[in-house]
Amino acid sequence: MSIAKLENIHKVYHIGKIDFPALRGISFSIEEGEFLSIAGPSGSGKTTVLNLLGCLDKPSQGKIFLEDKDVTALPTAKLADVRRKNIGFVFQTFNLIPVLTAMENVEFPLILEGKHDPKERHRLTEKILTQVGLKDFLHRRPNEMSGGQQQRVAVARALVKKPKLVLADEPSANLDSVTGKEILQLMLELNQKTSTTFVFSTHDKMVMDFARRIIRLRDGKIESDQKASTK
């Protein structure tokens, strides 16, 4: 089953009086369990694609489906519900809540979801933080952790509610290459263990190599869509 599908997506940004076409007719679908990279130089439309997939933005033209459900025309409040239930985000700049500990940051989406009692929330939170290797950092605040550790917390936060889709916008861009690789390695492991679908954007060749499928964008169009050969 396809997790998400973009159909002939156009996106035009209006910057002042100038119309800037970010995406010019993009179509592709994402299958469950994929580990997909959206690659391309800056300005090619990577982030726009992620924003559309993440229901943060609406296309100027075309349709977006999440699990065969058309979400293109949903009102803003409904989109927030879709995000809360189905989508996990990992940001380039980690974006943890600075006043909360690692544990509380990861627990936050579960509280928003409102599905579990506190005991169950704590169990899930501890489990995922252990999985990302932060068992001993549960009660640290973001400013007491390294960049790599913070991004691990962010990955745990994105995964804790078991979303259909995890979107990561340049997850390694603010990390040194070794730590960046470690994060990608972690994401790949979680992808394989939990069969969560991952989509991440990057312009870094080394990071791209982790992907099982790479969609290359150039000037708002798909340049190529390849399965990685034998990894």
Binding site: L56, R83, I87, F89, N95, P98, V99, E104, L112
Partner: protein, 418 residues
């Protein structure tokens, strides 16, 4: 909801300096406001009490025409049958006491010095039921009926260098226009120091019978002062007195202490307008403090807001984070304001502050107020008002910044650098 509160609580302590500044602005501003209101209340009620206890009682029965000329203290508008009126009102349970009095223009002569004063002829046996003069005798004793002695206000005694046991001459003016007067040689039996500086500075008290004889007003008085048990029944008592008096042949008027002290009331009304400005200014300070703090918070946390929105937090929830934050500062600030207001108000209520530190000249200048010590009147209502006001202000003031926060486009917010 618990999570939102936790988040707000921690964010309050995230920017300690800013929180402290805003918190201080609210607690000092509203605290001073509470003290100010207590003081204003106190001055108002104590001044009224002082006027009632030492000058006007609750009601005065006057011969028609007297009230219009009251500042001249005239002797021609007399009540000729005070006993008759008294027995007419005897069965009114609400009346605590009725005293026949004569007010007259006078002066006190001691050696070469002479000072003008207001003469008050009283019935020593009835006076304590109606006024508080007897309680305010600081030296000597109160008057006995029909003795030829005098009580001086403390200011007057001080200015003339007179003390208990000294003799002085009281000049009683029958007519100031024609300069007709009588004089009595009297021994000072007591010095009265009331809480009302106007009384202390310019009043002497002698027994009624003595004054009636010296002023040729046998059996006549210029006023009947009425004290009632319960001030709230004043209109009722006044109506009943008026209707009883209507059965008599002569015309009388009944005047309340409020009408008698109308100059003072006017003054207070003017002051109360100024007094409204103080809370308004404090509200403005507190509002600006909160709005500024919260706007800064929204600006600094733009990306965080974008992230919260991306995670699917609803707009209302994001707004609540900021409103809670402002409200928390408001709650702490107003609680402290209540402590400041409570302590300040309590001090003013128990100790009060005296104008005497300004020196005699200055304190004479401000003594248009019928009180020497300014005492506060702190009520629970003032503290509740302060608390509620502080919380309401901070919630209202947080709404705009919170609204700014949810108006942010999550994509723009996430891209925000800073």
């Amino acid at each position: 909801m618990k999570m939102l509160l936790k988040l707000a609580f921690r964010n309050v302590f995230r920017y300690k300096k800013r929180t402290i500044i805003t918190f201080s602005a609210i607690s000092y501003g509203l605290g001073l406001m509470a003290v100010g209101i207590s003081l204003y209340n106190g001055v108002n009620t104590h001044a009224m009490d002082n006027i009632i206890n030492n000058q006007t009682a609750h009601l005065k029965i006057l011969a028609a025409g007297y009230f219009e000329d009251k500042d001249e203290v005239p002797l021609e508008f007399t009540i000729d049958e005070p006993q008759e009126i008294r027995s007419l009102l005897k069965d009114n349970q609400n009346i605590q006491g009725i005293e026949s009095r004569i007010l007259f223009q006078a002066s006190i002569i001691s050696g070469m010095d002479e000072l003008p004063c207001l003469g008050v002829a009283i019935e020593p046996e009835v006076d304590p039921l109606v006024f508080k003069i007897k309680d305010s005798i600081k030296d000597g004793r109160f008057l006995e009926p029909s003795e030829s002695k005098i009580i001086l206000g403390s200011g007057l005694a001080r200015d003339l260098g007179l003390k208990v046991g000294d003799d002085c001459v009281l000049r009683l003016f029958l007519s100031t226009e024609d300069f007709i007067w009588n004089a009595l040689d009297l021994e000072i039996t007591g010095i009265a120091k009331t809480e009302n500086p106007m009384v202390n500075r310019q009043t002497v008290f002698i027994p009624l019978s003595l004054a009636q004889e010296a002023l040729s007003l046998e059996n006549k008085v210029t006023e009947l002062a009425v004290r009632i048990e319960d001030r709230s029944k004043l209109p009722e008592v006044r109506n009943s007195i008026e209707s009883r008096l209507a059965t008599l042949n002569k015309d009388y008027e009944v005047v309340s202490f409020e009408e008698y002290a109308s100059d003072f009331k006017e003054l207070m009304r003017l002051r109360s307008r100024i007094q409204v400005l103080i809370p308004l200014m404090m509200i403005l300070i507190a509002t600006l403090g909160i709005v500024n703090t919260m706007l800064m918070a929204v600006m600094e946390r733009t990306r965080e807001i974008g992230m919260l929105a991306a995670m699917g937090m609803r707009k209302l929830e994001i707004m609540l984070v900021f409103v809670f934050e402002g409200a928390l500062i408001g709650v702490f600030g107003s609680l402290t304001a209540c402590v400041i207001g409570g302590l300040g108000g309590w001090y003013l209520e128990t100790k009060g502050f005296s104008m005497s530190f300004l020196g005699k000249e200055m304190s004479d200048m401000v003594s248009f107020l019928p009180m020497e010590v300014f005492k506060g009147d702190l009520t629970v209502g003032i503290l509740i008002f302060t608390l509620v006001l502080g919380i309401v202000i901070s919630i209202l003031a947080s709404l705009y910044p919170a609204y700014k926060a949810v108006k942010l486009d999550p994509i723009q917010a996430l891209r925000h650098v800073g």
